[in-house]
């Protein structure tokens, strides 16, 4: 019964605010608290920034939001076939500031993981649940 919102933005920093607002609107529909909404916005902005900084991403960033009950799942991926994942390598490595975004995201969302997308490399998937 999940409902899905797909957003595709140019892979440019000035479009990240649109992603933030869109996700804020979706989280607000789920009756997330204002704090959780801010956290989701920040996490999505970080994920987009990672995607923008990836060395060989495509022209777009795709953001898919799945709403399922009280659970919001956001997947972020570069748009190009075979594009480098948005900084997947930093899962095991770290220390350069490029990698810190993922740790920030981890401390904001309930679940964060990388998933394989056929022919597309990896996408960053993060989940936030309505606080009970």
């Amino acid at each position: 019964m999940a409902e899905t919102v797909d957003l595709r933005i140019p892979r440019k920093a000035e479009w990240v605010a649109v992603a933030r607002l869109t996700v804020a609107g979706i989280a607000s529909r789920l009756h997330f608290t204002i704090e959780d909404i801010e956290d989701v916005k920040l996490a999505v902005a970080e994920a987009c920034t990672n995607a923008i900084q990836a060395p060989d991403g495509g022209a777009f960033i795709e953001i898919r939001c799945d709403v399922d009950g009280d659970r919001l799942r956001v997947a972020v991926v570069n748009s190009v076939d075979g594009a480098a994942p948005p900084r997947a390598e930093v899962l095991d490595e770290e220390l350069s500031v490029d990698g810190l975004g993922v740790f920030l995201i981890r401390s904001l969302m309930d679940d964060v993981e990388y998933e394989d997308v056929p022919d597309r490399g990896k996408q960053l998937v993060m989940v936030k649940r309505l606080a009970s």
Binding site: L21, S28, Q53, L100
Partner: protein, 255 residues
């Protein structure tokens, strides 16, 4: 790429060595070194929260408290890098600061106010400039970001208070309830919530450092001597700051 990237690169081996020495000897000078070496991490994280309406310096200060906690609790043999370990601790401390400041109460209020201000400014600007203003013009006029304007327009309404006579969705049997029908009696917990909000507001009159001290002293029962060590000032100084902070709080609550 942010311009901080060059600063925020530590030599892993140096960091590990420093932690190995610190965990063996627990020397303050080593801890200071570790704190200084990771202030960039605190800054990097604090900046991410800087658009939430609190001064960056305060965020860096509470973030530094988180950093110190992380340094004291970090164990090398867990096999994770320090930054991995410290990030959630620092973010947690920053987020707690927002909660202590009553942020979740203030933001909806600010959005509501901004929502009203936007409506007023639209009328005013339309007359002044002869056409309906753009979001950018509204943002400039109201000293807000464009994103805040858009958000206030969308979400500001969602936080409007409901009237007691607001009809709640009926379930088809014709007897729709109003909000007044389902509101119960006074709830003591609610009064406590109000106390908490007042205290959170009262904390707003304190400086960042005063808040940190009161927080450590009364919420975490840390001794003045220990706080002095953490903030790298004398115990007397902590005592004075604490005294001053409590006086400020009393004055605020007496109002």
């Amino acid at each position: 790429m942010s311009d901080e990237s060059t600063n925020v690169r530590w030599d892993r081996q140096t960091t590990r060595d420093a932690f190995a020495r610190y965990s063996a000897k627990r020397e303050d000078s080593l801890r200071d070194e570790l704190v200084v070496a990771h202030l960039n991490l605190v800054r990097y994280l604090a900046v991410k929260f800087a658009n939430r309406g609190e001064p960056l310096d305060d965020l860096i200060q509470v973030g530094t408290v988180g950093l110190i906690k992380a340094i004291d609790r970090f164990e090398l043999d867990r096999g994770v890098e320090f930054t991995t370990y410290a990030t959630p601790t620092i973010v947690g401390e920053i987020k707690r600061y927002f909660r202590d400041k009553g942020w979740a109460v203030k933001v909806p209020r600010r959005l509501q106010e901004l929502n009203l201000a936007v409506n007023r400014a639209v009328e005013k600007l339309s007359i002044e400039i002869g056409h309906a203003p753009t979001v950018a013009e509204l943002a400039a006029k109201l000293d807000a970001t464009e994103e805040e304007i858009l958000e206030a327009q969308e979400l500001g309404q969602a936080y409007n208070l409901l009237s007691l006579d607001t009809e709640l969705g009926g379930d088809g049997d014709g007897k729709s309830q109003t909000l007044a029908d389902i509101v119960g009696a006074d709830d003591p917990e609610l009064a406590m919530l109000e106390d908490r909000t007042v205290i959170a507001r009262a904390f707003g009159v304190l400086s960042g450092r005063e808040r940190v001290i009161l927080h450590l002293r009364f919420f975490e029962s840390v001794s003045q001597t220990e706080i002095a060590k953490r903030l790298n000032v004398s115990q007397m100084h902590v005592s004075r700051l604490q005294q001053k902070a409590l006086e400020k709080l009393r004055a605020f609550l007496a109002e």
